[in-house]
Amino acid sequence: MELDFTSNADYLWALLPEIILSASAMVVLIVGVFRNRPGEFPPEEANTLGWLSLAGILAAGLANGWLYGVGTVADSPMIAMDGFRLFSNWLFLAGAGLTILMSMPYLGRQRLQVGEFYSLLLLATVGMMFMGGTRNLILLFLAIETMSIGAYVLTAFNRRDRRSAEAGLKYFLLGAFSSAFLLYGIALVWGATGSVSLPEIAAVIQEGAAFSPLLLAGMGLLGIGFAFKVAAVPFHMWTPDVYEGAPTPATAFMAAAVKAASFIAFVRVFMEAFPALYETWYPVIWWLAALTMIIPNLIALSQTNVKRMLAYSSVAHGGYLLVALVAANETAMAGLLFYLLVYTVMNVGALGVVMIVSNHSEKRLQIEDYGGFGWKEPLLGTILTIFLLSLAGFPGTGGFMAKIYLLQGAVESSLWTLAIILAVVTVVSYYYYLKVAWYMWMRPEPAGSSSGPVWAPLSIRMGLVASAGVILYLGIFPGGLMEGARLAASGLGGVVGEALLGLRP
């Protein structure tokens, strides 16, 4: 099948995964409404709807896979059909799917409205998929808002928990605040170039036909908006609070998928629309990357709440990913994709174990509560250790290969200072990741804790084992996926590569 975007039906085909996912969201919502008995949310409810959502994700995934086989003869100005989009779709689907898998007991135990939760989650995923695929700034804005509004609600989802509400409010107010910057940026860029289509903007800039101060201001505002979304220091202030307060499944979803989507969009906009202005934006991003690597890693050292610590860690990972944007070459882009995928798996996995330790609630999140957990549950302990090592970027895990990939990108652009910063802060991060490991394995269970038996359904265990397996597999045989990521990035590089060529010394 070939698409040339002459007819609108082609758009339907090109957006098949998004459409399928939207439809499943609706189905889940409706089924949830019908099965909803007031005041009573039996745990199995979560399971039914959860598996239903997973089925939707699987179907979307199949459609996404099918898109690989679809040829395009003409580019659409709205939707990219490149590998970058398809690869990032995998990312979002994986993030959402894993989150759903991990969240089922949590939702059941916390008696949350399962149908709404999952449909919001799926709809937010649809927003992400548009973020990854769009080549139009207005569509991008809509996609971001779709994702964000879903995320706001997911954060505030547990109405009985004031922390959840507080996190939701903070996220919402600050998110809307930053959206305004983003939107302003879009407006100014449009004003400067007369287009909201990324390739066209690039072309206009390349020709030198853009009105410069407006363009730069617009680009700056766009950058600010994205920096907020990807939680780059110093725009990260909301992240720890929101991640800590949100229900843990929502945290997992945000830390993995939302962050990934923001990065994908960030990269796509700056690489596709502003390659010619690389010299202008790269110093700023350089500083953002450096700060984002250093500060949260240091702050995470003194955290005692594991969820909050992982929040800071998530911010720090954003810093590593920003290095890829600074490097702005094909390797770096491929590294970014690879990193995001690994990061999604390991972060959701780690938070999955956190959920289990906290007994699918918002209690027992302090690091002391992990004392002796490893010996109580050797399998889960080992898996969490693997995830932590991977988050720390330790050899033998996917996280390491991902970091290597990013470093490769940095090296190709001769970003030695950033590479060294990355190396040093990685050591810093070892400390707090290992801290969890040492509580798990080297400390006894805290006295007087009546945690009771650990409850983790088989589905979660299987999911965690599979995730850990993936992490180890990617740590040892990353070649295939690296190649895939490279191919995906070359779709983007095809647009950017030439524009970038000769820009760097």
Binding site: F394, A423, Y431, M442, G479, E483, R486
Partner: protein, 565 residues
């Protein structure tokens, strides 16, 4: 023997087997019932040791420099390959590892009482990492294995260690990781330069060899690599993690740490730093700094060791002193020095391993490591006393033991070039007696005036089995080090030649280039992989021609890779 080994294709699979079979052993250990785990682990590592003994015969001292080479593409995009190969130096490091492991495990039989399966599984994982480091020819793979050794050690110290085990484990982990991550950046830089030069990506040792680097680049890379290895060695003043780790680690952990893990650093210097950055390594200032730190380490650690109240800490500091000898041996860049350094490495592995085992045995009996708590032990435990005295003598380098051969050669080699430093380092011989003898006296001799000590048991059969091979080797290597020296010599010579030539060539290059630091663009006509041909031999041949065009260099490389291709 050689014929038989050839017949079974020993050389082709042995390195793979030694790296990966421990992982299989982990499965066996984890599946076994708790109380059988130690026996399985011991049997498994013993089997591996027996297997590795075949290397002694299969490695041909007169053959090419690197043997048992193999290479499989691992991550093609980055030119990372699963490349193995050993020379005489790595041969003995591997043998030391496979030899130490079963002994350490046997020594742990009574020490480790809880969570045995996990413990022995980690020990086996450690073995994979260490053997991997010594057997790999690919710099990236080397890094992976180098780091991989940290995790099991971290848990071994942290879970089965003493009071302050977590502090020690974390310090060990972070300190070592800091160095190695900076090395990683260095590796990538080198890789990038090599890629510019070669035209294709590769982390293979041979491909990286001879990468044209300015002196400034070499010095920076030297710092990046050197820091990692200096911390691992550990070189004064990066040593403070070691006493903590040693004191807190369980006996087998200390044994492996001292016997093998410290050698990773020295091995890194030998295998990578010297050949890859010859000009920096031979730079007078660098050499002076390294030697001075080595000498300070020897004397300073000896002094600090002498006043330690904790026996294990004392021995830990002696490790610093011994590794100082290794360092000066290496950086003297003479045949004798390098050979001596290597023998010190082996000897230190054996003797310090034995010391830790003996201290562990004392600890099992008395649950203390305070030297003052003992006294007159020789009266109640003559076998233990004999073992301790012989080991102590080997440790301080009394002739006839392995320690002497190593220290003598290392100092001799250093003296050839740096008499004054050798003079200072040789005072370490005096101070060795100054720290070791009082400890021996306070533990073994003096009145047997404590009731607890009167009831102390002598060595059991198992403990004799643990110590006797170590003691035997100390004496054997002290008397017949020849076969070891013979096998290591080609590797040592190769390193020296490479450094000498590289340093000379670098100077010429520098001169030709004019002002220092200005780097010419990489040679324009870099042949592509296709032009070069795919065989490693062709590639290396062409590379060498391209870089130096020196016939000797090419000859060296040819010898190095032998007729393997």
């Amino acid at each position: 023997m050689t014929g038989f080994l050839d017949a079974v294709g020993f050389g082709e699979w042995i390195l793979h087997a030694l790296i990966w079979l421990p992982l299989v052993g982990i499965g066996a250990v984890l599946l076994a019932p708790e109380e059988r785990a130690k026996e399985i682990a011991f049997g498994w590592t013993t089997g591996l040791f027996v297997l590795s003994l075949g290397l002694w015969w299969s490695f041909d001292p007169a053959g090419p420099l690197f043997q048992h080479m193999s290479s499989t593409e691992w991550i093609g995009a980055f030119g990372i390959s699963y490349a193995l190969g050993i020379d005489g130096i790595s041969l003995f490091m591997i043998l030391l590892t496979t030899f130490t492991m079963p002994i350490a495990i046997l020594g742990a039989f009574k020490y480790v009482k809880e969570r045995q399966r996990a413990f022995y599984a980690l020990m086996l994982l450690l073995q994979t990492g260490i053997v991997g480091v010594f057997a790999t020819m690919d710099l990236f793979l080397f890094y992976v294995f180098f780091e991989l050794t940290l995790v099991p050690m971290y848990f071994i110290v942290g879970i089965w260690g003493g009071e302050r085990r977590i502090y020690a484990a974390v310090k060990f982990f972070l300190y070592t990781a800091l160095g190695s991550l900076l090395m990683l950046v260095g590796i990538l830089y080198l890789y990038w330069q090599a890629q510019l030069n070669l035209g294709y990506p590769s982390f293979h040792f041979f491909d990286l060899l001879g990468t044209p680097l300015t002196l400034t680049e070499q010095l920076w890379l030297f710092v990046a690599f050197g820091l990692a290895f200096a911390i691992k060695v550990p070189l004064f003043p990066f040593h403070t993690w070691l006493p903590d780790a040693h004191v807190e680690a369980p006996t087998p952990g200390s044994v492996v740490l001292a016997a093998v893990l410290l050698k990773l650093g020295a091995y890194g210097f030998l295998r990578f730093v010297l050949p890859l950055f010859p000009e920096a390594s031979a730079h007078p200032t660098v050499v002076m700094i390294m030697l001075t730190l080595g000498v300070i380490g020897i004397i300073y650690a000896a002094w600090v060791a002498a006043v330690q109240p904790d026996a294990k800490k004392l021995v830990a500091y002696t490790s610093v002193a011994h590794m100082g000898f290794v360092l000066i041996g290496i950086f003297a860049l003479t045949t004798n020095g390098l050979q001596g350094g290597l023998i010190v490495m082996i000897s230190h592995g054996i003797s310090t391993g034995a010391l830790f085992l003996i201290l562990g045995m004392l600890y099992e009996r008395r649950h203390t490591r305070e030297i003052e708590e003992f006294g007159g032990i020789a009266k109640v435990a003559p076998l233990l006393a004999t073992a301790l005295v012989i080991t102590a003598m080997a440790s301080i380098g009394v002739p006839g033991t392995s320690g002497f051969v190593g220290e003598f050669l290392a100092l001799l080699g250093t003296f050839e070039r740096y008499p004054v430093l050798a003079f200072l380092a040789a005072t370490g011989v005096i101070f060795a007696a100054y720290y070791m003898l009082p400890m021996v006296q306070k533990i073994l001799f003096n009145p047997l005036d404590r009731e607890e000590n009167r009831a102390m048991k002598d060595l059991s059969g198992r403990e004799i089995a643990v110590l006797s091979p170590l003691v035997g080797l100390m004496l054997l290597i002290g008397v017949f080090p020849g076969p070891i020296l013979d096998r290591m010599e080609p590797g040592v010579q190769a390193i020296i030649e490479w450094v000498d030539e590289g340093a000379a060539g670098g100077a010429l290059m520098e001169e030709a280039k004019g002002p220092a630091g200005v780097r010419e663009a990489p040679p324009p006509a870099v042949p592509t992989t296709a032009e070069l041909g795919t065989s490693a031999m062709d590639r290396i041949e062409a590379t060498a021609e391209l870089i130096h065009g020196s016939a000797a260099q090419r000859e060296w490389i040819r010898v190095a890779i032998g007729d393997q291709d």
